[in-house]
Amino acid sequence: MSEQTFEPGSQAAPTAVAPRSSSPLLTVEGLAKHFPVKQGAFGTKALVRAVDGVDFSVDRGETLGLVGESGCGKTTTGRMVVKLLEATAGKIVFEGRDITRFNRSQMRALRHDLQIIFQDPYSSLNPRHTVGKIVAMPLQVNGINPPGGVKKRVQELLETVGLNPEHYNRYPHEFSGGQRQRIGIARALALRPKLIVADEPVSALDVSIQAQVINLLRDLQREFDLAFVFIAHDLAVVRHFCQRIGVMYLGKMVEIGDRHQIYEEPAHPYTRALLSAVPDVTKIGEKGRERIRLEGDVPTPLNPPSGCRFRTRCWKAQPKCAEVEPPLLQIGTGQQVACHFPETGPIA
């Protein structure tokens, strides 16, 4: 295995998660997910390295964004964190407890604190259940009887997410996309979790509705001091929601930093290319502006490039990049980058 993060002792190296003030709510170390697939005429087995050794941490009340293009492993990472997928390797520590190998019943207790919101508000709600039942489900499954009863609590939750409490007896199909996403959020909030993994929660929504939901999530985050792992491909949305951002490429974390670091002074060429590719209304009239254009597509995770995985599309690639995999190294307070030739200075 070429992933140096798997090697014992590497946790102590500078690649390890940056030391932060108090102990983080969630720590992920060397997290990996390999899917076996059959390939070719002879059905030879191969491994899709969807996530291949990822480290990060999330503090209480902090919002961490995971961005990257399709196939970068951000969704798989999110699912491993909430244990919808079993990790192939690595460690997930939540509130000081290693939950990587927790079984179902151990996880049940953890569901109070750890929730997920999905992208598609249409398919993640059971069409045969009323909104009341959907939102009450986490309470009932966990045998919780809040003061004033389940119904009262559910109605409070509906109100919290901006729905009418009288919608209690309606069915999901009676709601618009944005309202359905609110139902999903109410369900996630029912147990008063400490961490919510939100997987592309607004990408299926219309522009005007998307803004409503982002604002709602921001309000909830402040009100309940929620921590988020916010997975999205839309860099502008992530910028508005997340305090820290991790940029992923082909199963690897290539850069982590706070909002200013990632959006104003990104060090990884890939981060710069991503930002440059986003068509932004505010860039109007700058059509002649220098844009970074990446060639080709993301390579297949079945057979990722040696060394730095981004090197095949990187304009700065040197022979070294093919030979040595760059470790995720600290370059400033809280900013880490995995690149042999990082960029410096503010974005052009």
Binding site: D234, L294, D297
Partner: protein
């Protein structure tokens, strides 16, 4: 209703009239729930070499407009009135066979999701060659050569080999390139792109938008870019039409509509989009409520229930459908009951866009 957004600036096109003229187009179809007025009186013109961006949310009628231009709507259940002239030829009411002959030759279309828009059982090459063969019957060898040439032109490496690949063997970006190759194989003068990059990653999106730019310059085609993404519009369009509830509510050059918008809905759209600039700590400024149902549009201005400025004008916002009227700026038309000086004042004083 006269949206005169023709652009005198690009008069290098020597045709007397714009390649595409849409006049008071109305499209209705019956459903079990009632009559859907998907498009309700749209007019615009588009010249060769120019790109028109049509912006709107789901149910705004933007996709139906484009399907009607190609005559791809369900003829049996749809009622189309008004006029669509392609290269001077009226499409509305034209014999289906005649429209068919124009499809793919005079006007072509690329769609949002190239994986579902390509036939899963046929090779990419065959599908492109087929598009050529429809309009050049019998020229099989030429069709294949042409398909390979187009694959090469849209930047697919090893086009000879890739000719025999199936869509599922291509990446998302490659598939959309193949779709573009297929659409352009007959050198159509009008290309309609319906959310062509929505399903793609940003770096690939940038490649595809660049490609469309290049091809437009090369073939001098007119492009209609339908999208919900204002960023994409700002990047590719010359003119922009903003649609809401089946109506065009603002039309103008990209600078006019995106930097000096006069319709409250356009303001709302621009303010709701998160940007890479500006203060990220500020809350976004979303439009309250949701887009209306096309079956049961609000009375008067369809936007009035969500409009923060509807009272200020004291006008007939909930009674009369506002007409698309010229503003002080040439080519910029807006359908709003607020007086223009009031709109300008509100925009200057109250509307804050991402860039600041």
């Amino acid at each position: 209703m006269t949206a005169t957004a023709s652009s005198a600036a690009t008069s290098e096109v020597q045709d007397d009239r714009p390649y595409l003229e849409v006049d008071d187009l109305r499209v209705q179809f019956k459903t079990e729930d009632g009559i859907v007025r998907a498009v309700d009186g749209i007019s615009f013109k588009l010249e060769r070499g120019r790109t028109l961006g049509i912006v709107g949310e789901s149910g705004s009628g933007k996709s139906v407009t484009s399907l009607t231009v190609l005559g791809l709507h369900n003829m049996a259940r749809t009622r189309v009135t008004g006029s669509v002239r392609v290269n001077g030829r009226e499409i509305v009411g034209l014999d289906e066979e005649k429209v068919r002959r124009m499809r793919g030759r005079d006007m072509a279309m690329i769609f949002q999701d190239p994986l579902s828009a390509l036939h899963p059982y046929y090779t990419i090459g065959r599908q492109i060659a087929e598009a050529y063969l429809v309009h050049h019957p019998g020229q099989k060898a030429k069709a294949k050569r042409r398909a390979i040439e187009m694959l090469d032109r849209v930047g697919i490496p090893q086009p000879q080999r890739r000719y025999d690949s199936y869509p599922h063997e291509f990446s998302g970006g490659m598939r959309q390139r193949a779709m573009i190759a297929m659409a352009l194989v007959n050198d159509p003068s009008l290309l309609i792109a319906d959310e062509p990059t929505t399903a793609l990653d940003v770096t690939v999106q940038a490649q595809i938008l660049d490609l469309l730019d290049d091809l437009q310059r090369e073939f001098n085609s007119a492009i209609i870019m339908i999208t919900h993404d204002l960023g994409v519009v700002s990047r590719v369009a010359n003119d922009v039409m903003v649609m809401y509830g089946g109506h065009a509510i603002e039309f103008g050059s990209v600078d006019q509509v995106l930097t000096e918008p006069q319709h409250p809905y356009t303001w709302g759209l621009l303010q709701s989009v998160p940007s890479l600039r500006g203060n990220a700590e500020d809350d976004l400024d979303p439009i309250p409520g949701s887009p209306p149902s096309l079956i049961n549009l609000p009375s008067g201005c369809a936007f009035h229930p969500r409009c923060a400025y509807r009272m200020i004008g004291g006008g007939p916002c909930d009674l009369e459908v506002p007409e698309l009227l010229p503003t002080a700026q040439e080519g910029h038309v807006v359908a709003c009951h607020l007086p223009e000086n009031e709109r300008r004042r509100i925009f200057a004083e109250e509307i804050k866009l991402g860039a600041e």
